[in-house]
């Protein structure tokens, strides 16, 4: 059954392009609601398909195995709720006269293309085309970050363009090196860039070339994943972009970059063994978690706060992948739950930003009482992000810690140490916002439409988080079972 993957990837492109001819706002809203529905449903159907009957491929172009399906789920669900939220959020900007109809249509064109290329990146078979799709995501994101054209937005956008271009250039160099190495085995053919083909001959690739290539890939795509010390664009971009875009950057783009790194990690491991890549991932992971855990405390701006929390969680997932074994399960589970929780937190933060028109943590106390939707979103997502049971991030963090304890106790102590700091600092900041007595300064109220769309988006995300905290669907269980062998990992999970 091929259509879930086709629908998932084609829908955002088709609906995005249809925005060029549709001039009516109502129609655009309806189209995007349809898009949101299709994305969520087809990514779930794809999970069932791949977990039951194995990899799905389409010509020699798309090829989705269990790893792709996993990232399709992460990106697809969040892209669906993000689309819903964007309809509400940008619609509200339009109702308030901040954006013209032309800009409104431009936004959705870019936003849909952005989602489309991200989904393409995790499903294409050719590593060169994967690079092109990721570069496409960079370019559309660059325009989306600068969308509001304020000085801050332009600065953040420029920083993003420059840093990401450098990163992505390095990633292309890594890809070229892989091709340079593999064509000695496979000949000058397109196959020499297909990951499924490469995995069959991975153990014959030259180890020193693969090492250099992997370093280029890790630093290159790591820039897009916001790994410390290449993270400097990330808080600025998350802070200044329109909120739906911030949510998609955090939940989807960072995840997509990790996907790209994992694809190359699997290949490099076949040639040089897991220790080389594992150590590198652990190093970058610890730097990311360590730095952001402390910086979280210093933040005065709630969107930047969530941005640093993203750096932290990507770092945790990286530590999981670096450890190998069941840490891989921890990393995957972490990425899924983080994407859901972080986007929900951004949806809440966006509502606060609309009503208060500033981003100071200290000046928005009492959100639970004053803006229940935003308050609940930030509160629950904050608990999840801090790693409270029964939610998924608790499961993944505990898995990674236990796994580290079994293999390298020092890593486990360090990991638990930084997690404690991050837990305390993030929760402290979130509680400052959601609890307490609201300030007298009356923020404006949100339109009915925006409230309805954002509440729906928040409800789906929080519902999914609670569901995944209490129950693991068979499809996901089987999918993880199919992914672990790629990393030479085995064991009992759940």
């Amino acid at each position: 059954m091929i259509w879930p993957i086709i629908l998932l990837i084609a829908t955002p492109f088709l609906i995005g392009v249809s925005g060029l001819v549709v001039r009516n706002r109502q129609t655009l809203d309806v189209l995007h609601c349809v898009q949101a529905g299709i994305m969520v449903v087809s990514s779930i159907l794809l999970i069932d398909e791949v977990s039951v009957s194995g990899p799905v491929s389409f010509f020699y172009f798309l090829h989705a195995d269990a790893i792709s399906a996993w990232f399709d789920l992460v990106i697809g669900i969040v892209a669906g709720t993000g689309t819903l939220y964007a309809v509400g959020y940008v619609g509200e900007q339009y109702d308030r006269g901040h954006v013209s109809l032309k800009r409104f249509r431009q936004f959705f064109l870019l936003f849909d293309l952005y989602l489309g290329v991200m989904l393409l990146a995790v499903n294409v078979e050719n590593l060169g085309i994967m690079w092109i799709a990721i570069e496409g995501a960079t370019l559309s994101a660059a325009l989306l970050i600068g969308f509001e054209r304020s000085k801050g937005a332009l600065e953040a956008g420029w920083k993003f363009v420059i840093l990401s271009s450098v990163g992505i250039a390095l990633a292309l160099f890594g890809t070229i090196l892989v091709y340079y190495t593999s064509e000695q085995l496979l000949g000058i053919t397109e196959e020499a860039l297909h990951w499924a083909t490469l995995y069959e001959v991975g153990d014959q690739l030259d180890p020193s070339a693969m090492k250099i290539a992997f370093i280029c890939i890790l630093v290159g795509y790591g820039t897009k994943a916001g790994l410390v010390p290449m993270h400097t664009w990330l808080p600025d971009a998350h802070g200044e972009a329109p909120t739906p875009v911030s949510a998609m950057l955090s939940a989807n783009m960072l995840t997509m970059a990790i996907y790209a790194i994992l694809r190359f990690k699997i290949l490099t491991d076949q040639s040089v063994g897991t220790e080389f890549t594992g150590t590198l991932l652990l190093g970058f992971g610890f730097f990311s978690v360590g730095l952001s855990a402390i910086v979280l405390l210093l933040q005065e701006d709630f969107k930047r706060l969530l941005a640093f929390s993203s750096i932290e969680h990507i770092g945790i997932a990286l530590i999981g992948f670096g450890l190998g074994g069941l840490g891989v399960f921890g990393g995957l589970w972490h990425l899924l739950n983080h994407a859901l929780a972080k986007s929900a937190a951004f949806y809440g933060a966006g509502l606060v930003l609309i009503t208060h028109e500033h981003k100071f943590i200290a000046r928005v106390p009492g959100l639970l009482r004053k803006h229940p939707a935003a308050g609940v979103a930030l509160f629950v997502a904050g608990l999840v992000l801090a790693g409270m049971p029964p939610f998924g991030l608790f499961v993944s963090e505990i898995t990674i810690a236990v796994n580290a304890m079994a293999t390298a106790p020092m890593i486990a102590y360090g990991f638990l140490g930084v997690l404690t700091v991050a837990f305390a600092t993030l929760l402290f900041q979130i509680l400052r916002m959601v609890l307490g007595v609201p300030m007298e300064t009356h923020g404006s109220t949100v339109g009915v439409r925006c409230r309805a769309f954002s509440t729906a988006a928040i409800a789906v995300n929080l519902g999914a988080l609670i569901f995944l905290g209490l129950h693991v669907p068979d499809g996901l269980h089987n999918l993880i079972g199919a992914i672990l062998p790629f990393f030479h990992a085995e064991g009992e999970y759940f």
Partner: protein
């Protein structure tokens, strides 16, 4: 392999790659923005010549297409966009830099040595014809990075990015005998769009900040 013996072919490819590297140094030493754009266009022409040579010597035809696209996009369209931007701005010269020119040239020299050092263990994997190009390509990429971080003006940062792209393209054509056609087309498309987006950005930055001096943009930090 057509008429040319392999050592002469290899010699010619190396000569062209070296010319590419030389134009990098010229860009690093150049303060005038218009001249930087011209040098970039010249570098792209050398790149196209290298690609044509490789295509001729190996008989891989789609590299000819890449050479034509290089001329069209990197030697004609992008320089034209960049010159238009430079003309709209009130600055023609870059007076202040993070690193002065003589030091910059020395650093670039060191980067070239570094590139040869890094690629040393893997060059023997490559094709005989173009074995040295990989090191030169990496050197060009590194110098491009250096241009991006050492200059303040948005336009020169963009030229740094395009120099990196040229280095990557040299790596792809000379060292790996060209990426698959569809990948190459996609990369060209992305570079073109990147050029356009950067053009849009410089225009907006100029309007908002009254300058394209990126050192003025420092509101966002911890």
């Amino acid at each position: 392999m057509p008429n040319l013996p392999i050592n002469i072919g290899s010699y010619l490819v190396n000569l062209c790659s070296a010319l590419l590297l030389l134009t990098c140094f010229a860009i690093v030493a150049q303060r005038r923005l218009m001249a930087c754009v011209d040098l970039f266009a010249l570098q792209s022409v050398f790149l196209a010549v290298t690609a044509t040579l490789v295509a001729y010597l190996t008989g891989i035809h789609h590299i000819y297409l890449a050479a034509v696209l290089t001329i069209a996009i990197k030697a004609m369209i992008l320089p034209r966009i960049l010159k238009k931007i430079v003309r709209q701005l009130n600055v023609q010269r870059e007076v202040s830099m993070y690193v002065n020119i003589p030091t910059g040239l020395l650093i670039c020299g060191a980067l070239v040595i570094l590139a040869f050092f890094i690629t040393e263990p893997i060059v023997h994997l490559g094709f005989l014809l173009t074995q040295d190009s990989l090191a030169i390509a990496l050197a060009i990429v590194l110098i491009g990075f250096f241009i991006m971080v050492s200059r303040l003006k948005a336009v020169t940062q963009v030229i740094g990015f395009l120099v990196i792209e040229n280095g990557l393209f040299l790596a792809a054509t000379a060292a790996a005998y060209g990426m698959p056609l569809i990948v190459e087309l996609g990369i060209f498309f992305d570079v073109l769009v990147a050029g356009l987006i950067v053009g849009i950005y410089t225009h907006q930055i100029q309007e908002a900040f009254g300058s394209v001096d990126t050192s003025r943009m420092k509101a966002l930090k911890e």
